[in-house]
């Protein structure tokens, strides 16, 4: 047993932290927020140049062939920096889906482009309020043509390819759909809680769709994909939660009320201690998730759900109490507290809500106990 990241992995963390400090300060998120852009294109290009999008893709497909532990390290740092880039869509979702379910030909076609950042990928799952199920899906593929509407789709405005959950007959399948099919893949931007990450609606009308994985196995494949993605999302969330705690601490130390720093008041101290506790538990669960993902362990569904639920809770708590710690300043557009608050909620629902993951956790627990 060994519960630490390796020296090389810690070195990668240091590099990533330094890079993001310079290239993804809060001002970068703010520029995207104020301009209405989908992402920070310059930052994205630099991330691609550093090879982060290629991390776990095997060398034969133009990747670096590194382990998921490296990807977890990067995820945490991107989360800490609230980076306004489509990394989660393209890497944790589209790349993972193709790695997991793609044919050799599909891998050959897409992985080198995803690794090199020539294309951005995403996952189109949601069709409005509620959890999609095979029965609820309106998006449908007939004779290789997809019709229906997906909303919201992360990074829909900049992605070239989407993994789409749609039904075929009575059952659901996953499809690879190119998004440059003109009026057959009509895009409309959608305003979300976190405009530092672009989202949109895509209306498919007889768009060409290629099966990804076995026909009729869409829900199972989606479940397996989300287990993998959940670990990576959880690391982003833990990174964000840690940043929110650090911001709250820094402000509390410098802000005086009644003749002393507010950080010396017990209500504030216990608030921050509480953040620390939640963050620590979530982080420890993320370690376990990282290990399970990296070794494709049987426990992955349980470990992933555990990491995900505790990371959702930790980030939400840290981000809201960070605003509270800042008083009126925390509620201003000028201050950066909003970024964590926005991002924490976006990530909470990004791949299924807290309630869904609590349910999956107990499912996995039952399976494990049996």
């Amino acid at each position: 047993m060994n519960f630490e990241f390796s020296e090389e992995q810690n070195l990668l963390r240091e590099q990533a932290q330094g890079f993001l400090k310079d290239n993804s300060p809060p001002a970068a998120a703010r520029r995207v927020l104020d301009s209405g852009a989908d992402y920070d294109e310059g930052l994205w290009q630099k991330i691609v140049d550093m090879g982060w999008t290629a991390t776990v893709i095997p060398e034969e497909y133009g990747g670096l062939g590194l382990s998921y532990l490296e990807l977890c390290v990067i995820a945490e740092e991107l989360g800490r920096a609230v980076a306004p880039v489509p990394f989660s869509s393209s890497v944790y979702l589209a790349t993972e889906a193709i790695l997991m379910a793609g044919t050799d030909a599909q891998k050959e076609e897409w992985l080198p482009k995803l690794a090199a950042g020539d294309v951005i990928g995403t996952l189109a799952m949601s069709e409005g309020a509620g959890r999609p199920t095979a029965r609820s899906l309106e998006c449908e593929v007939k004779d290789g043509k997809l019709s229906g509407t997906k909303i919201p789709v992360p990074d829909a405005g900049i992605a070239s390819v989407a993994v789409v959950l749609a039904k075929s007959g009575k059952r659901a399948s996953l499809y690879l759909v190119e998004l440059d099919q003109g009026s057959k893949t009509a895009f409309k931007p959608v305003n979300t809680l976190d405009p530092t990450r672009g989202h949109g609606q895509i209306r498919f009308k007889n768009a060409k769709a290629e099966l990804l994985g076995k026909a009729g196995k869409g829900m199972d494949l989606l479940d397996a994909l989300l287990d993998r993605a959940a670990v990576l999302f959880a690391w982003e969330q833990v990174g964000g939660a840690q940043a929110a705690l650090e911001q709250a601490k820094e402000y509390a130390m410098g802000r005086y009320a009644f003749g002393r720093p507010i950080a010396s008041y017990q209500a504030i101290k216990h608030k921050l201690a509480n953040m620390y506790v939640k963050n620590t538990l979530a982080r420890s669960n993320c370690y376990y998730g990282a290990w399970a993902l990296n070794t494709d362990a049987d426990e992955l569904p349980l470990a992933a759900a555990t990491a995900r639920v505790s990371a959702i809770q930790a980030y939400y708590f840290a981000s809201k109490e960070n605003i509270q710690t800042h008083g009126g300043m925390g509620y201003t557009w000028e201050f950066d507290c909003q970024f964590y608050y926005r991002r924490s909620k976006l990530l909470s629902v990004a791949i299924g809500s807290e309630a869904m993951w609590q349910d999956r956790l107990i499912d996995a627990y039952e399976e494990h106990a049996a």
Partner: protein, 402 residues
């Protein structure tokens, strides 16, 4: 990062498993013995075979095992329902303090008997006027030649009535600020002048006591650390206390409540199918798992020989309220029958009701929830200390409520 056993660890686990299987006390052997005798029997058997306090050096009765091996040992031992408990203060708090501060002679005298369970220790720290604010304790020790004469009162001393020795912090100089006037000793619990009176707890049991001192004499050689250094020595004990007081709650956990929720029904369906029940269980599972892996992560620090740090406060701070809420929830799941506290009539031999009555004490013992949160805020996060009106003032001039 690798959560699986290495080849050596797997071999160690196998050895532990085999030994436990062959040597754990059978029901018959324990029959008719009291709780302490049962615990002593098991502890001595482990000691004789070299399986007691396994991380301690061999010369003190351990086997010099690594922290990871200790985790493996604990995992395997906890698979059985074995008698334990009475040794945790001695082995978990007194022993690390002795290892750090006692003379070689005292170490050789006391540590093996602590490991074997032949001698039980208690902790005489708290006083009526010094609980959370431990350094406000008043029991006086006055030097008389190469002896000290003790007068005063300790309170909440768990196990004083069955202990052989105690660790003890006393005020040796009231004219200096409170942390500076303390000195640390060990004491024979049968020393003349000591009187032990049981206190009844809300659970109905009487595990803690008042201990009165009237002209009790200890030799200066029983001092641990220098005169006036008692606070520093006490910190060694307290740090280890945080590490050794676990989450508490015994067998109340996700596993037991999951079983219960499969059996009892809500609206004609097993409670476990109810989304609200599942959500709660999921949250508790996250806490359990988070605590487990947090403690595994701190192992790396321990393997480098570091003292357990203030980070360990998290175990009790999360674990005790969690156990309380879980016991309460398990009682609710049983509806009216949840009120029954009778091992013959209640679910799981009244485990939930017993835990419900025991846990309030655990949220107070060994540092209250609030003090644990203070420790995290100040010692881990580095936030400023509270304003202290007693700072720098001679102890004898500090304002008190009585």
């Amino acid at each position: 990062m690798d959560f699986k056993d290495t080849a050596e660890e797997a071999a160690f686990r196998k050895e532990v498993r085999a030994w436990l299987k062959a040597n754990r006390p059978k029901k018959k052997e324990l029959e008719g013995l009291g709780g302490i005798e049962q615990a002593k029997l098991w502890q001595k058997r482990k000691y004789d075979a070299g399986w007691a306090c396994i991380t301690w050096p061999k010369e003190y009765g351990g086997r010099g095992a690594s922290p990871i091996e200790n985790v493996i040992w604990n995992q395997e031992e906890s698979r059985y329902d074995l008698p334990q408990g009475v040794f945790s203060i001695g082995q978990g708090m007194a022993a690390p303090t002795l290892m750090m501060w006692a003379s070689d002679e005292d170490k050789a005298r006391f540590l093996p008997k602590l490991a074997s369970g032949e001698e039980i220790w208690c902790q005489l720290f708290s006083e009526p006027a010094g609980g959370s604010d431990l350094a406000a304790l008043r029991t006086r020790a006055v030097k008389d030649g190469d002896e000290w004469v003790i007068n005063g009162q300790k309170i909440w001393t768990s196990g004083a009535h069955y202990s052989d020795y105690g660790i003890l912090v006393l005020r040796t100089d009231p004219s200096v600020p409170k942390h500076k006037g303390l000195t640390y000793f060990w004491i024979d619990m049968r020393a003349p002048g000591m009187e032990i009176k049981p206190i009844r707890q809300i659970s109905g049991d009487s595990n803690f006591n008042e201990v009165y001192f009237t002209d009790v004499r200890v030799s200066d050689s029983q001092r641990l650390g220098a005169e006036g250094q008692g606070w520093q020595v006490a910190l060694t004990t307290l740090m280890n206390e945080r590490a050794s007081i676990g989450a508490g709650g015994g067998s109340v956990g996700v596993d037991s409540i999951y079983k219960l929720a499969k059996e009892v029904e809500i609206d004609g369906k097993p409670a476990i199918r109810d989304p609200a029940v599942r959500a709660k269980l999921a949250d508790w599972y996250c806490q359990e798992s988070g605590l487990k892996y947090t403690s595994w992560r701190t192992l790396s620090a321990l393997s480098r020989g570091e003292t357990p740090g203030p980070e360990n406060s998290i175990g009790k701070l999360v674990g005790a309220p969690k156990a309380q809420d879980m016991a309460s929830f398990a009682i609710d799941l049983q509806e009216m029958a949840g009120a029954i506290r009778d091992p013959k009539l209640s679910e799981a031999a009244a485990m939930y009701q017993e835990t419900y009555m025991a846990i309030p004490g655990l949220r107070i013992a060994g540092g209250t929830d609030e003090i644990m949160a203070n420790i995290i805020a100040e010692r881990v996060l580095g936030l400023p200390q509270d304003v202290r009106v007693d700072k720098g003032i001679p102890f004898s001039e500090v304002p008190t409520g009585s």
